[in-house]
Each structure stands twice: as C-alpha cells, then as structure tokens.
C-alpha cells in the first residue's frame, strides 16, 4: 500500500504569520484574542476575536510576501491566508519549482467551513445601495470556497486533483484525510491539503452569537475568554487563518531526499445523526471517528501520546472528553490532551489543519502545547492530563487530532513520527 507522509508545513494564525512564530507563541502560553479591530463591533453581543495581526505587529502576517497585489484586491481574506499557508508548505517541502511531470501529479485540497462571508456581506450592501451594475465582476470567484485550491494551483502550476472540502469545523481534518487517500489511491503523488477561514465580519459574529456559540461574557478580558474544560467556559472565540500541509507518497519523498515530518496513518469519519449544532450527548460520533482512525492506523489507545482535542470552550468539551475516556480506558493515564483553541480561538474550517500541524510539531520537538486559562477544571476532567497553563516536555511518537462540525460531522486523524 502506498504510504503518505508530511513533507511541508504552512501556518497563518492569530499568533503568527508563519509556523515557527506561531509555535513559539503557542508553547509560551500566549493568547491571540483581543477586542475586534477589523470592524466596529460596538453594537455586537460578542466584541472579541482572535484576529490575524497586521504586518507591523510583533507576530503579524504580511500578505505581500506571497499573494499578488491584484489577487489581494479581488478575494476574501480566507483565500489570502490559504494561498500564503500553501506557499509556506510548498517552499518548506522544496517543491515550489517542481518540473512539469511532478506538477502533473501534484494536487490541492484546501477547504473552508464558511468561505467569503465578509465579501458576501459587503457586496450585498453594494447591490442594495447602488444596484446590480456596481457588483464586482470578481465577486463570485473571490468568495468561493474552492478558490484557495484554484488560486494555489494557478500560482504554482499544480495540475493534479483540485478539490475543496466543506464540512464546517471538520474541514481541515477531512481535507488532510481525503487528500491522503487520493495519494494512497494513486490519483496524485503530492497534495497540498488543509483549511482556511475568515468569517470575521459583522454578519459572521452576529450569526454565531445568535446561535449562542460564542463567548459573550468576557468582552473586557478577551485573552481569558477561551477556556476549554474550565467550569466557567461559555462559548468559543472566533479565530481566523489557515493551515496547509504538503502530503507526499513516502517513496516519492524518500527518492528526492525530502525532510519527512510524520506519516498519516489513520483517518476516521462519522456523522452524529443527532442535531444541527449540538453534539450527540454521549459523544457517539466522536467515539466512532476516533475508533475508526485508530483501527486504520493499526494502533491501540495506549500507542497515542498526545490528543489535540476539538475542545472549543463550549459545553461540548466534556462530551468529547467523556468519549475519549470511554475509548481509551486505562490508557487515558498515559496520554496528554490539550486544546490549542484556548490560545488561537476557533479557526472553524482551518482548525483541523492548523491543529494537525501543532501535533506534528509536538512530535518534532517532543513537547505538548498547553490548554491555557484552565483555572478550574470542570467535573469529568479528573484523571486526564489536559496540560493546563504550561507546555510540557514528554515523549510524543503518535498523535490523534479531533475535529467536529455543525451538522454532526466528525473527523479524526492519527499521525505518527518516522522511525
């Protein structure tokens, strides 16, 4: 069977415009949350978010590094983040100047949960105020979810499968899992895979706030708002950004002497068949996805050293935790599990891919990132190392990454360090 490994990483997050800056800040226990600066949020119930910072910020993102000025004007922020993260990953893999034969077998699977909501909001106002003749000719293709993959394929000449997953907050994990299967099934030798998101606009914040999904009680203390597993958690903090990995068939990577970060060994998918926003109360879907991922990896729970939880800082955290406890049994005592959403908020469709990269870096550096703000662990958390406050040095050879989305869609990935 064709094996799939990771040979490149790219990140744009609220804690950095690249992989190493983000990781350093994550390990230092920083928070990327602030009051919203992107627009006037004074009339919103939720006035905080984890925004990607401007270039002049200590850990800002410079869109001019990899995204053409003209493209920047035409597309929504999620596409800009996605192109840059994909560019980082392809450069990290040393494939940005690949020959034509390589590029024929080189594809893209970069999705988004929501797509270009800020642009849809803005252009609908143009339509209402100025009429159809003033709607931008770039409106449609500047907002479509598959246009990260489209733009990246055009920029780098990638002629393999061009795909985009849309499964809400499971998008990033599904993208990596599906792309790995495309390589395994011999549709491609290399795939850029991940997710990108920016729904940070009045409509996005108001919509999630009305669905009672966002934290609305910590508008004056944004850095304390995202507190997965804490008794006082009461909603997620909206994040934005992108994560993209370069996946490659193992022999292909080996033959060209590529640096190999990890192997994608397991992928599990399931549906809750329960409710549009609430998870199944017994975490059945989460359990099934994790179990399938472990089975595909040929592993047992005791083989897993670290779990990057979905852990959004909502009531659902303890449901996920209960299903992890049920699946892991005695092995729960040897695993560390944390939610990096405590630091960068919830990147929705970007979350699964960004968190998969944190899992890979945990294996590279033999350290697990913390769950910050976990001051008063909720009932049901006892007996589990949730890595409160501080990163922790430990053995990390295999990891499990969970992502669950609205609609009851679940994805789990198992990654393993190379022997």
């Amino acid at each position: 069977m064709r094996r799939v490994v990771v040979t490149g990483l790219g990140l744009v997050t609220p804690l950095g415009g690249d992989v190493e800056t983000t990781w350093k800040n994550i390990l230092a226990g920083k928070s990327g949350a602030t009051q919203i600066t992107r627009f006037d949020a004074s009339d919103q119930k939720c006035r905080i978010a984890c925004e990607v910072k401007p270039p002049e910020h200590e850990y800002g993102f410079d869109p001019n590094l990899r995204v053409d000025h003209k493209v920047q004007r035409q597309v929504d922020p999620f596409i800009i983040f996605g192109i840059d993260a994909a560019g980082q990953a392809i450069e990290d893999a040393g494939l940005e100047h690949a020959d034509e034969a390589t590029r024929m077998r080189f594809g893209c699977s970069i999705g988004s949960g929501i797509g270009g909501l800020p642009g849809i909001e803005k252009e609908s106002l143009v339509l209402a105020e100025k009429g159809p003749g003033r709607v931008s000719p770039h409106f449609v293709h500047g907002r479509l979810i598959n246009l990260v993959s489209g733009q990246v394929s055009i920029k780098y000449g990638l002629m393999g499968p061009n795909h985009a997953v849309v499964t809400a907050c499971s998008t990033g994990a599904h993208s990596i899992g599906d792309a790995a299967r495309m390589i395994r099934d011999d549709d491609a030798d290399i795939m850029l895979a991940g997710g990108a998101e920016s729904a940070l606009c009045p409509l996005g914040i108001a919509g999630f706030a009305q669905a009672r999904a966002l934290n609305m009680s910590s508008n004056d203390a944004p850095e304390k708002a995202s507190r997965p597993y804490d008794k006082d958690r009461d909603g997620f903090v909206m994040g934005e950004g992108a994560g993209v990995v370069c996946l490659e068939e193992y022999e292909h990577a080996k033959a060209r002497g590529a640096k190999i970060y990890a192997e994608v060994v397991g992928y599990g998918l399931s549906g809750d068949a329960y409710h549009v926003t609430a998870p199944h109360p017994e975490g059945l879907g989460a359990y099934n996805a994790m179990q399938m991922a472990l089975k595909k990896a040929g592993m047992v729970p005791a083989d897993i050293d670290y779990i990057n939880a979905h852990g959004t800082s909502t009531m659902a955290d303890t449901i996920e935790l209960a299903s992890v406890k049920r699946l892991f049994g005695d092995a729960i005592s040897t695993v560390s599990m944390s939610s990096t959403k405590s630091a960068i908020g919830h990147l929705l469709g970007g979350a699964g891919a960004v968190e998969a990269i944190f899992c890979i870096l945990a294996m590279r550096d033999q350290i697990v990132p913390p769950t910050i703000n976990l001051d008063n662990p909720d009932e049901g958390t006892e007996g589990v190392d949730l890595v409160p406050h501080h990163a922790k040095k430990r053995k990390v050879k295999a990891v499990l990454n969970n992502s669950f989305g609205f609609g009851g869609t679940n994805a789990s990935i198992v990654l393993k360090a190379m022997d």
């Binding site: 003209k70 004007r73 003749g133 003033r134 931008s136 770039h138």
Partner: protein, 78 residues
Amino acid sequence: MSEIAERVKKIVVEHLGVEADKVTEQASFIDDLGADSLDIVELVMAFEEEFSVEIPDDAAEKIATVKDAIDYIEANKG
C-alpha cells in the same frame, strides 16, 4: 497631463497593481498591463464611479488602452 488622465492612471495603478511608470497613454490594458476581461469590467465600473459617467457595454468593449479610456471620459463627462 490632464487632471482626468492623472485620475485614470491612479485608478489603473490601484486596480491592476502595476508600477505607475508602466501606465503610459499608449499602454494596452491586456497586452501591457496584465489585465484580463474581468479586470476591464472592474476598471470601467471604477471609471464610472470616479467620473459620474455612464459607459455602456458597447463603448466599454472599445476601450483597449489607457488613452481610449481618457478620451471616452473627456468626451462624455457630464
């Protein structure tokens, strides 16, 4: 250079992301400035907004160079 020409060039630089010195009056939007047909639709919309002028589709199709745009606006500006 006329005031209209200056404003036209400013819009072209902003929308197409090209160096100002490349935006000569003879420059073709597609051949010299890297525009595609959708960029031209967008430029025409920007000219309409900036100069409060209507540029119908059949007239827009004839605008190929920076000079074509300046000439049309000078002749039709209200």
